[in-house]
C-alpha cells in the first residue's frame, strides 16, 4: 500500500512539475520552428509569473491575472521579433537581453507595487479540479489544476497547427528556408513575428502557472532556470510537439523523485539529489540529441537587399 501511495504521489507531482515546462517548451517550439532561438524564455516566464501575480493580486481575479500574463508574454515576443527579426540583431544577444530586461522590470515593478514586506504577499490560487472524490486512491493523479490539463491538451493542438494548417506550413517554411518562403511571396518577417508572439504568450502562461496555480505567491527565484530546461527539452524533443510531452514528463518525474528521495533519510548530500534532474537531462540529451536536426534557418536573420 505504501508503494502505491508513493507512486501515485510521484505521478501527481510529475504532472505538476511538467506543466510549466510543457508551456515553455511549446512556446519555444513556435519560435524555433520559425527560425528564431528565443533565449528570452527564462525572462518571459519570469515576467509571466510576475504579471499574472500582480494583476491577480490587484484586481482579485485570477483569470485577469492569466490574461495579463499572456499579454506581457506577447509583448516580450514582439520585442524579440523587433530585435532579432526586424533589426537582425544576433539571436543570442537579443534573447539574453530580453531575459535580463524582463527579469529586471519584473523585480522593479514588484518592489514598486508590493514594497519590501517581511511576509511575501500571497493570493488565493486556482483550485485543483475535483475529478475523483478525495477518497479515491487515484485522486492525487486526476485532481490537477485546469492549466495542467490545458497544457497537455495543447500538445496535440500545437502538433496539428504546425503540421496541418497553412500557418504551420508557413512557420516551417520560414524556419527551414526563408529565401524560399520569400520567393514564394510570403512575408517572412510577419510570420516569424506571429510565431514569436504566440511563443511568448505560451512561455508567460508557463510562468504564470507557478504563481497563479502552484504557489499562490511570487518569489525572486520562482522560475529557477525552467526556461533553460525548456531550451534543452526542445532539442530532446527534436522540435516535435508530441515529444515535448515525454521530455517534460521525464524531467518532471526525476524532479518529483529526487524531492521524495531527499526525505527518505538517505545519507547523501542533498545537492546530489537536486542535481539529479539536470544530470538525467544531460544524459537524455546526449542520447536523443545525436539525431536531432534543428530547423535549418535557426539563428539566421533574414535579409533582403
Amino acid at each position: 500500500m505504501d508503494s502505491v501511495l508513493f507512486i501515485v504521489g510521484l505521478i501527481a507531482a510529475m504532472l505538476r512539475v511538467a506543466t510549466p515546462l510543457i508551456y515553455g517548451t511549446l512556446g519555444e517550439l513556435f519560435s524555433e520552428r520559425a527560425g528564431v532561438l528565443n533565449l528570452g524564455i527564462e525572462g518571459t516566464m519570469f515576467l509571466g509569473a510576475f504579471t499574472g501575480f500582480a494583476v491577480a493580486a490587484t484586481t482579485g481575479s485570477l483569470w485577469l491575472g492569466l490574461l495579463g500574463a499572456i499579454l506581457a508574454g506577447i509583448l516580450a515576443g514582439l520585442l524579440m521579433s523587433l530585435l532579432s527579426v526586424r533589426l537582425g540583431v544576433n539571436q543570442h544577444v537579443a534573447g539574453l537581453g530580453i531575459t535580463l530586461l524582463a527579469t529586471g522590470i519584473s523585480l522593479f515593478a514588484f518592489r514598486v507595487i508590493f514594497g519590501e514586506s517581511k511576509v511575501p504577499p500571497s493570493i488565493e490560487s486556482f483550485p485543483m479540479l475535483q475529478i475523483l472524490p478525495d477518497t479515491n486512491p487515484l485522486a492525487p493523479i486526476t485532481n490537477q489544476y485546469l492549466l495542467t490539463f490545458i497544457g497537455i491538451a495543447l500538445i496535440p493542438l500545437v502538433w496539428w497547427i504546425i503540421s496541418k494548417t497553412r500557418f504551420g506550413l508557413q512557420i516551417r517554411a520560414v524556419g527551414e528556408n526563408p529565401e524560399a518562403a520569400d520567393a514564394a511571396g510570403l512575408n517572412v518577417y510577419a510570420i516569424r513575428t506571429r510565431a514569436l508572439a504566440i511563443g511568448g504568450a505560451l512561455m508567460a502562461v508557463g510562468g504564470a502557472f507557478l504563481t497563479l496555480a502552484q504557489l499562490g505567491s511570487f518569489t525572486f527565484g520562482i522560475v529557477a532556470g525552467r526556461g533553460w530546461v525548456c531550451i534543452a527539452l526542445i532539442i530532446f524533443a527534436n522540435w516535435h510537439a508530441v515529444n515535448v510531452l515525454w521530455g517534460a514528463l521525464i524531467f518532471g518525474g526525476v524532479q518529483a523523485l529526487q524531492l521524495r528521495l531527499q526525505t527518505q533519510g538517505i545519507k547523501l548530500p542533498y545537492e546530489l539529489f537536486l542535481s539529479l534532474p539536470y544530470v538525467v537531462t544531460i544524459i537524455a540529451l546526449t542520447i536523443a540529441g545525436r539525431n536531432a536536426s534543428a530547423p535549418s534557418a535557426l539563428l539566421k536573420a533574414y535579409r533582403r537587399e
Binding site: 496541418k164 494548417t165 497553412r166 500557418f167 506550413l169 508557413q170 516551417r172 517554411a173 527551414e176 528556408n177 529565401e179 524560399a180 518562403a181 520569400d182 520567393a183 514564394a184 511571396g185 510570403l186 512575408n187 535549418s296 533582403r304 537587399e305
Partner: protein, 495 residues
C-alpha cells in the same frame, strides 16, 4: 507589345554598381536571353524584376503599365515567376506543399486536394512532378521542374530562368528546351539567363548582353553569330584555354583503390571508387553536382574518413592520413569552397602561409619580413590584384582563387587536387586558372580535376572519368569523350 520593360535600372551594393542604367525589353511570347559573364549583373537585374532586390533607380513597366515591385508577392501578382539559380524550395516539405506555400486562403491545408491540383497542373503544362515527394529526395533536375511548375501554377506569363542549364546533364537540357519551346507556343514569355553562347543561339530569339553591370546591346539571334556575341560579352573575340596535343604520361603518382565513404548523414557517398593519376596528366572527373565529388575531394584532402579502400601518393599510404600528412606527402589542394579555406579577416600575406607556417618561423616567432617577401613574390607571379596587407575578405572571387592557387602551387606539389577551381569566376580569371592547371601538368604534376563544368573538363583533361551516385561510371581518353557520351554517363548509364 512589351510584356516587360525595365528602364534605367541602377543597383548599387556599397561601392559596386551591379546594374548601371540598364534597359531591358521583353516582347510577349519570346524567349529572350540575358547573356553575360559571371558577375555581369544578370542575376541582379532579374532579382530586381522579381522583387528580391529593390532598385536604387529606374522604372519597371509591365503590360504597358508602370508598376512598383517591393517583393516577390508583387511580382507574382504581376504574372512574373522566377526560378533562381539556387533553388528556393524548402527541402523538408513536399512538392505540393512547396507549390502552395505562397497562398494564404483558408486555415487548414487539404493536402490530398492540393496534391490533386498540383498533379492536374503538372499534366496541363506537361511538366512531370511527383506531388507527394519530399524535395530533399529529388534530383536537381526534378527540383528545377518543380520550380518551373510552381511559377506556372501561379499563373506566370513571364518566366525567368537563372542559369537553368548549369545544373543539368545534356539530356536534361534537351528536355528543358523542349518544354520551353512548347510553353512559348502557348504564349509564355521567357527570360533565359546564361553564359553559354551555344544555348542562347539554340533556343532564344533575342539576346540582351550585359558586361560589368552595363548594357552591351540587344540583338536578334537571327542577325548575329557566336563571334559577335562573344565579343559583346567579354569585349574581345578570342577566349578559352585548351590543352594542346598529346603528352607522354609518366609514372603512377596518385592511386585510389576501391575506396568507400559515407556522407555527413551516414549514407554511402563513395562506392568502390578507383582512379589512377599519372605524372604529367590531368584526369578530369565529370559529374552532376552532388554525386560524391565533395566527399571524394574531402577524402583526398584528409578531411573525411574512408570506410574501406586504399589511397597512395607515390608509395606513401594516405588511406587514413590527416591533413598535415597529406601536405607532407606533396599533395596540393585547391578546395571547392575557397571561403572555407581562407581566413577572411587575415591579410593576403598571412593567408599565403597558412598551411606552411613552420617555414616562416624564426626562434618561435613569426618572421614577418620573410612572410611579406613571400607574399610580394607570389602576388607578382600569380598576378593577384591586391597588396600583401589587404584582408582576403575584401578580394574578388577571382583574386581570392589566385591566392589559393599561389599558396598551393608555390610549394610545387607532386599531386594537385583541384575541386571546382573556376566556379563563380569571370572569364578572365577562369582562363588564368586553367592556364595554371595546364602549367602544372606540363611541369609533371599529377592533376585530378573535379568539375561540374563539362566544357572545362573536356578542354583540360587527358582522360575523363565520370562519377554518378558515388560510383565511377567509366574512364575515357580525351579523344574518345564526346559531350553526348559523357552526358549519358553523367545521367547514370555505364560506358
Amino acid at each position: 507589345m512589351h510584356a516587360v520593360e525595365m528602364k534605367g535600372i541602377v543597383k548599387r551594393f556599397a561601392d559596386l554598381v551591379a546594374s548601371d542604367h540598364v534597359d531591358f525589353n521583353l516582347e510577349k511570347g519570346e524567349i529572350h536571353a540575358l547573356l553575360g559573364e559571371n558577375g555581369a549583373g544578370k542575376t541582379t537585374l532579374m532579382r530586381i524584376l522579381y522583387g528580391l532586390y529593390t532598385a536604387d533607380e529606374g522604372q519597371i513597366i509591365i503590360n504597358e503599365k508602370p508598376v512598383v515591385i517591393h517583393s516577390p508577392k508583387d511580382a507574382i501578382k504581376n504574372g512574373i515567376g522566377m526560378v533562381t539559380q539556387h533553388f528556393t524550395l524548402v527541402p523538408t516539405l513536399t512538392v505540393a506543399e512547396n507549390m502552395v506555400l505562397g497562398e494564404t486562403a483558408g486555415i487548414t491545408l487539404n493536402l490530398p486536394a492540393l496534391e490533386k491540383k498540383v498533379a492536374e497542373a503538372s499534366e496541363k503544362f506537361g511538366i512531370p512532378v511527383k506531388p507527394q515527394a519530399l524535395i530533399k529526395h529529388l534530383s536537381v533536375g526534378e527540383r528545377q521542374r518543380v520550380e518551373i511548375l510552381k511559377a506556372l501554377y501561379h499563373d506566370a506569363n513571364v518566366l525567368i530562368l537563372d542559369e537553368p542549364t548549369a545544373v543539368l546533364v545534356p539530356q536534361e537540357v534537351d528536355m528543358l528546351f523542349e518544354a520551353l519551346t512548347r510553353l512559348q507556343k502557348s504564349g509564355l514569355s521567357v527570360i533565359f539567363i546564361s553564359h553559354h553562347l551555344n544555348e542562347v543561339m539554340q533556343i532564344c530569339q533575342k539576346v540582351t548582353v550585359l558586361r560589368d553591370g552595363k548594357l552591351a546591346g540587344t540583338v536578334n539571334v537571327a542577325d548575329t553569330n557566336l563571334k559577335e556575341l562573344a565579343n559583346m560579352m567579354v569585349g574581345r573575340e578570342n577566349f578559352g584555354v585548351k590543352r594542346q596535343g598529346q603528352r607522354e604520361r609518366g609514372n603512377l603518382e596518385l592511386k585510389i583503390e576501391n575506396i568507400c565513404a559515407s556522407d555527413k548523414k551516414g549514407l554511402p557517398a563513395l562506392k568502390d571508387v578507383s582512379l589512377d593519376v599519372h605524372q604529367g596528366e590531368i584526369l578530369g572527373l565529370a559529374g552532376v553536382s552532388g554525386n560524391g565529388q565533395t566527399e571524394l575531394s574531402a577524402v583526398l584532402c584528409g578531411m573525411h574518413k574512408i570506410t574501406s579502400g586504399k589511397i597512395f601518393a607515390g608509395d606513401v599510404d594516405l588511406s587514413h592520413a590527416t591533413t598535415s600528412d597529406v601536405c607532407a606527402a606533396g599533395v596540393g589542394r585547391i578546395p571547392e569552397d575557397r571561403h572555407a579555406n581562407m581566413v577572411g579577416e587575415l591579410s593576403v600575406a598571412e593567408n599565403l602561409i597558412l598551411d606552411q607556417m613552420n617555414n616562416f618561423v624564426k626562434n618561435g616567432i613569426m618572421d614577418y619580413a620573410k612572410i611579406q617577401k613571400n607574399a610580394e613574390e607570389l602576388i607578382k607571379s600569380f598576378n593577384i590584384k591586391a597588396s600583401a596587407g589587404d584582408r582576403v575578405r575584401t578580394l574578388s572571387g577571382g583574386n581570392m582563387q589566385k591566392v589559393m592557387l599561389a599558396r598551393t602551387l608555390s610549394q610545387n606539389p607532386r599531386i594537385v587536387i583541384a575541386s571546382q577551381p573556376t566556379r563563380g569566376l569571370d572569364v578572365g580569371a577562369t582562363d588564368y586558372v586553367r592556364t595554371v592547371l595546364l602549367e602544372q601538368r606540363d611541369r609533371g604534376a599529377a592533376v585530378l580535376l573535379l568539375s561540374e563544368d563539362l566544357e572545362e573538363i573536356m578542354a583540360l583533361s587527358d582522360r575523363i572519368a565520370v562519377i554518378y551516385g558515388g560510383r565511377i561510371m567509366g574512364i575515357l581518353p580525351a579523344h574518345e569523350a564526346t559531350a553526348e557520351k559523357l552526358g549519358l554517363m553523367m545521367a547514370g548509364s555505364a560506358a
